[in-house]
């Protein structure tokens, strides 16, 4: 089994993991369909035989435990803000202003910094 075939098989397993059917995988690689079919059938039957979804109650309890460990408040993502020194250094590097009299990519930072 060569490296290229292993890569194709790998792509097909990615597709199956994402819910694609075996037929769809084979259609994407018709030149290897004969070799792929029995292997993908094995993957699909192993998938099917070991299906298990935890109960909603248990999952909810586990989530509550995790949030409780975090202090009882669900974390909200805070965007990282460059420090003032970094801002000045970036501005120096940018050099030219764009047509709006702004430094282009740094404008979003400025908005954050004054917010």
């Amino acid at each position: 089994m060569n490296e290229k075939f292993e890569e194709i098989l790998d792509k097909c397993i990615d597709s199956i993991n994402k819910g694609e059917s075996i037929d769809e995988c084979l259609a994407s690689h018709p030149e290897h369909a004969g070799e792929l079919l029995p292997l993908l059938k094995t993957v699909a039957s192993a998938h099917k035989a070991t299906q298990f979804t935890p109960s909603v109650e248990k999952k909810q309890a586990a989530r509550q435990q995790l949030i409780a460990a975090m202090g009882g408040v669900e974390p909200v993502y805070i965007e990282k803000r460059p420090l003032l020194g970094q801002h000045i250094r970036q501005d120096k590097g940018m050099g030219k202003r764009n047509g709006n009299g702004d430094y282009g990519t740094n404008s979003s930072f400025r908005h954050n910094a004054t917010a």
């Binding site: 089994m1 490296e3 075939f5 292993e6 890569e7 098989l9 790998d10 397993i13 990615d14 993991n17 029995p38 292997l39 059938k41 094995t42 993957v43 039957s45 192993a46 998938h47 099917k48 035989a49 070991t50 299906q51 298990f52 979804t53 935890p54 109960s55 248990k58 999952k59 309890a61 586990a62 989530r63 435990q65 995790l66 949030i67 460990a69 975090m70 669900e74 974390p75 909200v76 993502y77 805070i78 990282k80 803000r81 420090l83």
Partner: protein
């Protein structure tokens, strides 16, 4: 000046912590089921798998300071924790390798008893076949098929290259095929 530096690093630390906590809760939503399934295939016990999956996230939270997102994706790190917990569980109970497959079959919560029996049979067959794989092949199959990780993420968990994972994967599938086709 020293006070400003301290305040900056404190703020940076707080943002980092908040960022990692948000990542962890997001991973919980996305990977709890897969981690529970990964554990279930090893233990064959649904309730234990659910409890251990919950423990994975609590343990991850306690070790959040050690997580470096540039080195490994968080989901791969979580599966590493799950693997280590399974090893600990095995040490404590020393029966993981000799799971009494027939005693542990629990898919009998389907409404059709015939269908449940068939499902149990298939599950048992797959577990028995998995036991015949090498330890590395088995781990690749578990992380890739049941954990749903990409081969790169599996490589992160197992400290192997992407190519090595792909090679083990194709050997494992061929071997599984032979074993599952045996009557």
């Amino acid at each position: 000046m020293e006070r400003i530096t301290t305040s900056r690093s404190t703020r940076r630390g707080a943002v980092d912590k908040n960022h990692k906590e948000a990542m962890l809760t997001s991973c919980f939503n996305q990977y709890f089921d897969r981690i529970a399934r990964y554990i279930y295939v090893r233990l064959g016990d649904k309730a234990e798998a659910e409890d251990l999956a919950s423990e994975v996230f609590l343990k991850a939270y306690k070790s959040l300071d050690t997580f470096k997102k540039r080195e490994v994706p968080m989901q791969a790190w979580l599966f590493k924790i799950a693997h280590n917990l399974l090893v600990d569980h095995h040490r404590k109970h020393s029966k993981m390798k000799t799971v009494q497959i027939d005693d542990k079959l629990q898919i009998a919560d389907k409404s059709d008893p015939m269908q449940a029996a068939m499902a149990n049979l298939e599950y048992g067959k797959v577990l028995k076949a998995m036991d015949k794989l090498t330890q590395d092949q088995r781990q690749v199959v578990e992380l890739r098929f049941f954990g749903g990780l990409t081969s790169e993420e599996v490589g992160n968990v197992m400290n192997k290259s992407n190519g090595a994972v792909r090679q083990m994967q194709s050997h494992a599938i061929k071997r599984l095929r032979q074993l599952l086709e045996k009557k």
